[in-house]
């Protein structure tokens, strides 16, 4: 993304006045949109620390007056929030670990190992990626019930512990790794799994980080699946819990500071990961459009 620096600028200097003006307009547009995209988060943050009357009277103000943590006290003491956080941590950790391991295992096999049916499995994985998530709500509920795991951690985790898109990312990555390295390992007598685990996987770090982050973000934010997987409040994850704060039986009153605070807390982990690993998010998204 830093290609710009190397490019010659001479043509741009030819018309100084116009460049300056368009420069200014460019910044104005950027700053305006930056406000549009970021100010709502400022509002969210500020209003979570406001009292309810203050939030209703001055929703735009970036500074609470008075500053109060009453909303957070209520979040932690009056709702199942601590439980939701714990559940989200458990589910996200297991799902992320499972996805990274199982997806790369399968991705490697589809890229490198020769076995009959490989083409069929690859085709199936690609086909599965086209299945839209929301039309699976009723079907998933049926199968979870039929398997007798409805309303359990298993139901929250197992169905989403592999994802076709992840398998495909890993397959694409392994296809691009030179074969020579693993052949050397194989000739030394290492088994298939050993070769995969100690030779190929370490080389896959960039892809693994991308996959880890996408999996973390995906399962931390996952909402519709929890609707059909569990119903006991003690099994709620954060998005489900927050959704029920808003639309469930507790949704009757406004209580905006409380709701905004809960939503804010649910956003923080992903926001932190995003800021730290930005590059990998960008790669994940950009991969859709960039050429090899």
């Amino acid at each position: 993304m830093s290609v710009a620096a190397d490019r010659p600028r001479s043509p741009a200097r030819r018309d100084g006045g116009r460049t300056l003006a368009s420069h200014f307009v460019g910044y104005a547009v950027l700053v305006f949109f930056a406000l549009v995209f970021l100010y709502p988060f400022v509002i969210q943050l500020a209003n979570a620390f406001k009292s309810e009357p203050d939030a209703a009277a001055n929703p735009l103000a970036p500074l609470p007056d008075p500053v109060t943590t009453a909303a957070f006290t209520r979040i932690f003491e009056g709702t199942g929030f601590p439980r939701w956080v714990a559940n989200s941590l458990v589910v996200t950790t297991v799902v992320t670990a499972g996805r990274v391991f199982l997806d790369s295992l399968a991705g490697y096999a589809l890229a490198r190992l020769h076995f009959r049916g490989r083409a069929a499995v690859t085709g199936a994985v690609v086909a599965v990626m086209a299945v839209p998530g929301v039309v699976l709500l009723i079907p998933k509920f049926l199968v979870l019930n039929q398997l007798g795991i409805y309303n359990s951690y298993t139901a929250l985790i197992l169905p989403v512990i592999v994802d076709a898109a992840g398998v495909f990312i890993m397959r694409q990555f392994f296809v691009s790794v030179p074969v020579s390295v693993e052949e050397a390992a194989r000739i030394d007598g290492a088994g298939v799994f050993r070769t995969f685990w100690s030779v190929v996987l370490p080389m896959a770090r960039p892809a693994l980080i991308t996959l880890t982050i996408l999996s973390f973000q995906g399962s931390w934010n996952e909402f519709p699946h929890t609707l059909v997987a569990v119903q006991s409040p003690e099994l709620f994850t954060l998005p489900r819990g927050v959704a029920d704060l808003v639309s469930g039986s507790l949704g009757a009153g406004s209580q905006y500071p409380l709701k905004l605070g809960a939503a804010l807390l649910a956003t923080i982990p992903v926001a932190v990961i995003f800021l730290v690993f930005q590059r990998h998010f960008v790669r994940g998204a950009a991969e859709g459009a960039s050429k090899e």
Binding site: I43, P139, F141, A289
Partner: protein
């Protein structure tokens, strides 16, 4: 002899290992994707009432009844379904162009090489895309509350904001009556007396409701960042020489955009539009959190209707049937996308995105 045997061993090992490696993925996808779809297909053909197993002998087989009720039988089921199709169609019609244009515009501005702080702006625009749809919905509930941020911003300009989430009036109806063409209390009989599939022409022509437009704004706001990144990636590939050549030719910025940049972005543009089409037909989370189909059914979408029909009304067959119709629609869109992009290797990789944008 020895050598070939050994080779065979390795190949054999590979075959076993290959299947073992893909086994977890195959079993889980089979169990939680393929099997459920088959089960739901049965349910959509049955009259299961949600009590006990749908696979008992006494669950009646009703054939295509659940489907015909959505299309040919005059009644509430068809009306609700068609209303949801109408709402979602208007939603798609507004969201897809808006997010594409906004994403392209942002990408073009961010890509200007003379600007400083590009990575900051890129981050800022992309950030909403990575956050939870539920959390964002909560935020927008507050922003668009009657005394919320948007209305207080409007009041700064002396405008009275609407009661966003309580307002079922269609934007098209409002425009028509604003132009003095029709009186919404007494719509023209030509439009109300006849119709298509259970809704009168007047109802079909409502446009998205005021309440729906808040969800439209939300989704454009969250997804534009992702698509902007895709445009940015493509813009990086625009050959520098080409731009310079056009500069030397004295082409103005608009001409450059029109004749140089846009044609080069065509594949990405197409990708963004089809991805947008696919994901906008799946809108669910925001509806569940923000409006539950209200006010006056104007935010009902097929995805939410199917959920509600099954889990609230116990009409699992009908709910599953709605799911399958939606499924079919999305599969057709996806196949269309893949067909048009067929000579590009990048097609399957695009599915990286829907994992994150599918709830848009």
């Amino acid at each position: 002899m020895f050598g070939s045997r050994r080779r065979g061993g390795i190949r054999g090992n590979e075959a076993v290992a290959g299947w073992l490696f893909v086994a977890p993925v195959v079993v889980i996808l089979g169990l939680f994707l393929l099997l459920p779809i088959l089960m739901a297909l049965w349910v959509s053909l049955s009259g299961w009432n949600g009590q006990g197993s749908p696979f008992r002998d006494d669950v009646p087989f009703v054939g295509a009844d659940n489907y015909t009720r959505l299309f040919t039988q005059d009644g509430l089921a068809r009306e609700n379904f068609m209303t949801s199709i109408r709402n979602n169609a208007y939603y798609v019609l507004l969201v897809v162009p808006a997010q594409t244009v906004l994403a392209l515009g942002l990408a073009l501005v961010v890509n200007r090489r003379v600007l400083r702080g590009r990575s900051f702006f890129r981050t800022a625009f992309y950030f909403p895309s990575v956050t939870s749809s539920v959390a964002i919905s909560v935020m927008f509930l507050f922003l668009f509350a009657n005394t919320g941020a948007v209305n207080s911003l409007l009041s700064v300009f002396g405008l009275d904001g609407p009661q966003w989430f309580a307002d079922p009036r269609g934007l098209l109806h409002l425009t028509l009556s604003g132009l003095g063409l029709v009186d919404p209390a007494h719509p023209p009989a030509a439009l109300t007396d006849s119709g298509l599939l259970g809704l009168s022409w007047w109802e079909w022509l409502s446009g998205p409701s005021v309440a729906m437009s808040t969800i439209i704004i939300l989704v454009v706001w969250t997804t534009s960042g992702t698509f902007m990144l895709m445009f940015l990636a493509a813009l990086q590939d625009v050959p520098v020489q080409l731009e310079e050549a056009s500069l030397i030719d004295g082409a103005g910025p608009w001409q450059r955009l029109r004749y140089v940049t846009l044609p080069l972005l065509k594949p990405t543009m197409f990708l963004v539009i089809t991805l947008g089409l696919i994901s906008t037909w799946q809108v669910f989370d925001q509806i569940y959190v923000m409006s539950q189909g209200n006010p006056a059914k104007t935010t009902l979408t097929p995805a939410y209707l199917s959920y509600r029909t099954a889990f609230k009304d116990f009409e699992y067959g009908s709910g599953a049937a709605i799911s399958f119709v939606l499924f079919l629609l999305i599969v057709v869109l996806t196949l269309g996308q893949r067909w048009v992009m067929r000579d590009r290797d990048r097609v399957p990789r695009t599915r990286l995105l829907p994992t994150r944008t599918r709830r848009s």
